[in-house]
Symmetry: C4
Subunit: 286 residues, 4 copies
Amino acid sequence: MMNTNGTFNVQRQYLSHWDNIYYHLVTMPWKYFFALVFLCYIALNLIFASAYWLIGLEQLNGLTPGDFWHNFSSVYFFSTQTLTTVGYGHISPAGFLANLVASLESFIGLLAFALISGLLYSRFSRPSAKIVFSENLLVAPYRDGLGVMFRMGNARKSELIETEVQIILAMNQTEPDGATTRRFYGVPLEISKVSFFALSWTVVHGIDEKSPLWGFSPQDLEDANAEFMVLVKGTDEANQQAVHTRHSYVASDMVWNARFQPVITRNTQGLPHVLVRQIGAYEMLS
Amino acid sequence: MMNTNGTFNVQRQYLSHWDNIYYHLVTMPWKYFFALVFLCYIALNLIFASAYWLIGLEQLNGLTPGDFWHNFSSVYFFSTQTLTTVGYGHISPAGFLANLVASLESFIGLLAFALISGLLYSRFSRPSAKIVFSENLLVAPYRDGLGVMFRMGNARKSELIETEVQIILAMNQTEPDGATTRRFYGVPLEISKVSFFALSWTVVHGIDEKSPLWGFSPQDLEDANAEFMVLVKGTDEANQQAVHTRHSYVASDMVWNARFQPVITRNTQGLPHVLVRQIGAYEMLS
Amino acid sequence: MMNTNGTFNVQRQYLSHWDNIYYHLVTMPWKYFFALVFLCYIALNLIFASAYWLIGLEQLNGLTPGDFWHNFSSVYFFSTQTLTTVGYGHISPAGFLANLVASLESFIGLLAFALISGLLYSRFSRPSAKIVFSENLLVAPYRDGLGVMFRMGNARKSELIETEVQIILAMNQTEPDGATTRRFYGVPLEISKVSFFALSWTVVHGIDEKSPLWGFSPQDLEDANAEFMVLVKGTDEANQQAVHTRHSYVASDMVWNARFQPVITRNTQGLPHVLVRQIGAYEMLS
Amino acid sequence: MMNTNGTFNVQRQYLSHWDNIYYHLVTMPWKYFFALVFLCYIALNLIFASAYWLIGLEQLNGLTPGDFWHNFSSVYFFSTQTLTTVGYGHISPAGFLANLVASLESFIGLLAFALISGLLYSRFSRPSAKIVFSENLLVAPYRDGLGVMFRMGNARKSELIETEVQIILAMNQTEPDGATTRRFYGVPLEISKVSFFALSWTVVHGIDEKSPLWGFSPQDLEDANAEFMVLVKGTDEANQQAVHTRHSYVASDMVWNARFQPVITRNTQGLPHVLVRQIGAYEMLS
């Protein structure tokens, strides 16, 4: 149901594509965003250049007519100078229609750049944590029984405070009438909230009689199509905004009888140093 | 009291209309917003054009006087070039007064566009969920008795997480002294909070002895002018902001002895597919 | 301790006045804000005009020298054209130094207007409720005893949802050793939270044996310098942000044996209409 | 583990330095931010000036060629006029390539200033409290035993409301097997939440049998490398955003048998006046 990166494996019907425009503009990768902005810039200029062309070159002062290519590039560049409000003025609108279109174009140019300002800021300020999760869910001796655990680390410079973790387990279950339904269980955690998450955090669920996993073998979990949905919620300290991150583990991501290797060392100045790239490193228990 | 779309059916007295300007500028439909901005642009240009006209055409270099229409359109377009700071310069202020007004106009132009930038961003970033509600409230067998239920779906691409639903029931009640007063009741729900709301959600209230609806017939509810106010609260994942949505059902929206038809199918790739347009589809129970 | 409008009657020592610049720029009245921005515009132009003057008029092409006043106004207006980036170009920098200063000025101009954009948006988006409070705190028969109550109304078009009220009572109390200390008490309320606050809300504290006001006469409260600090917290629906408002009542604001007059009427279309201006209207009980 | 100013004494491995660019741009001191922006301005102009130079001076109208220095400064200043969109026009692009580069430069200029607008606003609106903490943690008689206390004051004009304090104590502890592990304890406080924090606040932990400090001598705490991590959370009233601040005290910051001197006086108008600079002033008890 959930992909490993926490997006949902679901398709929706939308009432109108306009509803999602802001969402797409804010979440698309930077390279596509800049490409789109640049294409809009070219397209707007082509539209206005065509308008000046249709109005006639004689309405633009300072433009010396030549062949088609020279003429069109001249009106195109006049359009860019108007849209960006650079307005050198060696070419300037003389007739009424050219003036009218130019006054509209510079207005639209300012509006468009105001819009881009707003979008750039939206993209910048979108709260986002970058939490690195171990690839595997380990099952290891814990207290008097077994525990299921994963490890996560903060891969950002900005601290994550008041961090909370919640795990929801989805499993197929055969009903008395033989039908298979998918059921959801909360998975209680040893510690589910920390005041600050400066280093790494190994999140542990102890398998006792109350655990939804009690008595399940690896094969049972595989058969039940078990999925652990991890929901992390915290406050990013750089902008003090709430951030949410998700991750998903399926039964085949589980490693039985293993433990995580240390991920915190001391650097040359004696400071604790978190090796985020090795967050998932584990070793088998004999 | 509440309209179906969740706005309140109430009129207020305002202390000053200035208090609501930001509210209107941010909530008005896009087409009115752009129309208003465009009208302000024209109005500002007319004001400044009149100022240049009153100061005299001889204070503007490069302007060749002609008939009234030519002259006024010349000062008007000079004004647009100054307000948008495009400043081609084929017309330029020469005298002291024209220079003074032009320096003021370009300053006001930049302020105005800064303001529009801010408003555009406010409009963009306004958190808003688009939740689709079933048109009807169904009453169907539920557990050992009856349940009242409605269904809702997320019509946005952006996930809604930590979603909570609350229902408040308003009913007229006859007091012992014969007077009719409107009373409000909380309506307990089977599940009132979900960690994520990826597909559709059927919100259910079981009618048991503790329910404010216990023992009411359809006619009783109609007579009592019953209104179910639904308040939904969640976190929009695109910008991690809280969003609130409301909906209202009245007694005549209730359908007794019916159940919702399935709204989730598999698309061609086998992904769950939510048919948001059919969120309200139901069938009568025999 | 608190003024009627909710600001604190306290003076603080500041470590640095720079810490409060953003606070002042965002909270000062609009007319002062615009006046300050305009003064900065004039000041910046005077500084740059002086720079061009010192560099020499011969470094500016298109400037025809005259008397001092003519010359200075010319460099001043050249400065305004550069700062706002309107750049007509009938005067343009020719020498190296003039070019250098002009390239700096247009850069500073853009930075300054970016800054003003940011401040304008900050001012716009600052969450603020406009709640109108009754001028008086009424004491009236309530249930089997007395109740203290005030009324408040929302004077904005934007709804206030999930509104919570808290009252803290401050009173002087004579200690056994004769010293007077100021003590703070929480005041329990009949209803302290509402899901939506669409009309008016009369907040009531019932005076029973557990009330900190139990057994106090009007004179006692006056003598104890009693102050009721009202803290209101809600979510503004226009931008879904939390808003906080405060109000203060002192003993002399209390009216004993009075009740509020109705504040909700029906308008011509039958809609409930809240008379916000009469939120404080009360009548004495016989 | 924590520095006195509340930053963590920890080093992390980052997956990509791009992840932290926004963090650095928003948190770097203002002088570095402006220096960086200015350097980017110069660098962009040098790049575009080189482009015009390579294209050839003959593609720029109005440029009178001279020696290298004159020529390069001419194209450099033409670039500044294009990037800032001031566009005087005494020099203007004539050939196709120069026009193309100029249309790109003015576009990039507008994007860059939109980006700076966004960053300036991010920097401005970043919620930040300025809480001043006493340098020392005092231990003084409290109730029937001892209490550990520190004092803090708000050094901003903006109120801090709904302020909560939490203390976490870290101590080395020798395990039965002789190994030393670092353990964390919550430290219960007399009052851990206040509705408003207008003056100063002395936060007190009473040392009773349940306290993790019970029975510890100053030397014991020193030996255990005790560290008190103070986490303060509140709502800044100027922008109604949550703010978090941290502070750290180690065993050597503790002063036994001392009490804080008064920090609140009356100013000349009789208003309470908080002497924030003397928040840490204490006196020894005999």
